[in-house]
């Protein structure tokens, strides 16, 4: 043997020591103005994520002792953890469902529902596919389960007869649940021969790159790509309305405007840092929404959310 190796594990020890040194070298020391401490665990909808992230960031800037983590495992995934008692706050782009309520009840987890902002689902088409407005009925004929509609001309004469390529969120998405519930009348009922993606950016790419592209996804994804997409107004019975901050906030963009929520566990709400975090998020909801680029609550919505938070305190 030519090597003078003492132990076969020497290189392993060396690598581990290297990693350990790297770890020790970085201690993130944060300071803040208050003496609050503890952790606040937030998880759930990716639609609410930008709001929660911005709120967490601003809150930690003021309260250096509090650690806020925000995940984005989807509305359903968030409730699963929430009702297992693993998170303090669950973000949701739809109200809690009966099965989820039952799961929470089983674990003895009581909660409050707080609206934090608004979201709209935008109907968009390729700029080459000129569609001004669709009624909820026409949308249903295009998107309903088993629909055989091939072009927009099939649902309304005068619309282009280009063959449609449909794009929409996958079945795990809260947006899918909400759209199918509102338009097709039953949550989860949808034609299946469309191009699904959980990533809204993929849908944007699809619709903007396909001459017959028509799809639906979160309004903020339209806002960021408005130059590449044609926004379709929706007629929910009171004439054609295009989604914008105002029509989504006051609900006149019917029926595809919706409130988005944070659910907080009663027992965790008793902790001062959780309560302070939510109070901060509601008090500064307008600036947080502005940073997060989502539609803020109206005055009355915000007042109602604050009232819910403070009830019984």
């Amino acid at each position: 043997m030519k090597t003078s190796l003492k132990s076969p594990l020497a290189p392993v020890v060396a690598v581990v020591a290297l990693l350990a040194t790297a770890l020790a070298g970085c201690g993130g020391g944060s300071t803040g103005g208050s003496n609050l401490s503890g952790t606040v665990k937030v998880d759930g909808s990716s639609t609410v994520y930008p709001f929660a992230q911005a709120a967490a960031e601003e809150f930690q800037g003021k309260n250096g002792g509090v650690k806020v983590t925000v995940g984005e495992s989807g509305t359903g995934g968030g409730f699963e953890k929430f009702c297992a008692g693993e998170t303090d706050i669950s973000n949701a782009s739809r109200p809690i469902e009966p099965e989820e309520k039952a799961a929470c009840k089983k674990k003895g987890i009581e909660y409050r529902e707080l609206q934090v902002a608004n979201d709209g689902i935008a109907i968009v088409s390729n700029p080459a596919l000129k569609i001004e407005c669709l009624s909820t009925d026409e949308l249903k004929r295009i998107w309903n389960k088993g629909s055989k509609v091939q072009s927009a001309a099939d649902v309304k004469s005068g619309l282009p007869s280009t063959t449609l390529s449909l794009y929409g969120p996958g079945t795990d998405s809260g947006t899918f649940d909400y759209f199918t519930g509102q338009i097709n009348g039953e949550e989860g009922a949808s034609r299946t021969d469309y191009q699904p993606s959980e990533d809204d950016n993929v849908l944007v790419q699809g619709v903007s790159g396909d001459k017959g592209g028509l799809g639906y996804f979160g309004f903020s994804y339209f806002e960021q790509n408005s130059d590449k997409l044609n926004l379709v107004a929706v007629d929910g019975g009171n004439g054609c309305v295009k989604p914008d901050a105002k029509s989504i906030q006051d609900g006149s963009y019917k029926p595809l405007a919706r409130p988005i929520f944070m659910y907080v566990s009663e027992s965790e709400l008793a902790r001062e840092e959780v309560k302070q975090f939510l109070a901060f998020a509601l008090d500064s909801h307008a600036e947080i929404s502005d940073v997060a680029k989502i539609v803020p609550m109206s005055e009355s919505q915000a007042a109602k959310a604050k009232e819910t938070l403070n009830a019984g305190a």
Binding site: V16, L18, G28, D43, G71, K81, S220, Y221
Partner: protein, 328 residues
């Protein structure tokens, strides 16, 4: 080029070749009928057509190599072009943020380092010990040892999300109950790459000549002494290469981490095994799915950081291999 090599390459021949040894040696054959058995000495030399074919074959092989290299190059160039602008000391030092200009990867880089350290601490001793048992001690005549062998190989092909579910059920909840901590994340990744380490370590142990073991034992060493002092040191290049390749697989995993509940927005570094954490692949995933173009550029920057870490890990593997490599 020697005659014998040419003959090996070209089994076709003319019947007449069998008649005259000199004709074959002269290499005058011009492709011909098959199916007549001949002894190897009488095979003809390559024809012009064969030489051309040979060139085509070689060219097509090079083309195949080129395809993979070109795709890799395009990928790298594209990412570097997009992400280079995002790279700066601030980007490395900042925590994630809702403002793209303030966002950085510090907590993600630290989270990834913690995960790798925990993963290595768990997977190297366990994997090497398992490999030593299977290679040196296990009696292959026993059915359960054969079953273990087959299953270790199968485990290497199980999709990573399945390990995520395993981690969630047994490490986060269930018997261990580590919670959504960096410890649970690191151990889940450890389980994921354990089969890779076992298989690589077994290969490395098998490559040590049995004369080394026999020599040690002939001098009075016990089996364990022979393994610890002779076999294992000789197998280090192979074992460490396998372990580090396993780590470089673990470093890019996203799905199992989402499953065990790594958060995406974490503005602090892990400060212990029970700490919440995020990791680079998660941060990249989150930024890529953001509606804002600025965040997608940050994602490209984070990909460069991840690649740099990956290259660093791989170069450690190369250094170790060169340092301890030996020939018999």
């Amino acid at each position: 080029m020697s005659d014998s090599r040419r003959r090996l390459r070209r089994p076709s021949h003319r019947p007449s070749d069998r008649v005259s040894r000199t004709a074959a040696a002269a290499g005058a054959a011009v492709g011909g009928s098959l199916a007549v058995p001949v002894d190897a000495d009488h095979l003809p030399r390559a024809t012009r057509r064969d030489v051309v074919r040979e060139r085509y074959f070689k060219f097509s092989l090079i083309a195949c190599v080129a395809v993979s290299l070109i795709v890799l190059a395009i990928l790298l160039i594209d990412i570097v072009r997009q992400g280079a602008g995002a790279l700066s000391m601030d980007f490395l030092n900042n925590f994630p943020s809702a403002f793209p200009e303030r966002a950085g990867v510090q907590s993600a880089v630290m989270g990834t380092l913690w995960l790798m350290a925990i993963c290595a601490f768990f997977v190297v001793p366990t994997g090497v010990a398992a490999a030593i048992y299977l290679e040196e001690y296990a009696d292959r005549k026993r059915w359960f040892n054969r079953a273990i062998e087959v299953n270790v190989q199968n485990l290497a092909a199980v999709p990573s999300i399945v390990y995520g579910i395993l981690g969630l059920a047994f490490l986060v909840r269930g018997p261990f109950g580590f919670g959504r901590s960096v410890l649970a994340g690191g151990l889940t990744l450890g389980l994921l790459v354990l089969p890779v380490v076992v298989i690589a370590s077994r290969e490395a142990l098998r490559a040590v000549p049995s004369s080394i073991r026999e020599g040690a034992m002939a001098l009075g060493a016990t089996k364990w002494q022979a393994i610890w002092h002779q076999v294992l040191p000789s197998a280090i290049p192979g074992i460490s290469t396998g372990a580090i390749l396993a780590l470089s697989r673990a470093i890019g995993e996203t799905a199992p981490l989402i499953m065990v509940g790594a958060a995406t927005y974490v503005a602090f570094n892990p400060d212990g095994l029970n700490s919440a954490f995020t990791a680079l692949p998660l941060q990249i995933y989150s930024w890529l799915s953001s509606p804002q173009e600025e965040f997608k550029l940050l994602a490209a920057g984070a990909i460069i950081v991840l690649m740099a870490m990956l290259l660093a890990i791989n170069s450690i593997a190369i250094v170790i291999r060169n340092r301890y490599e030996r020939k018999w």
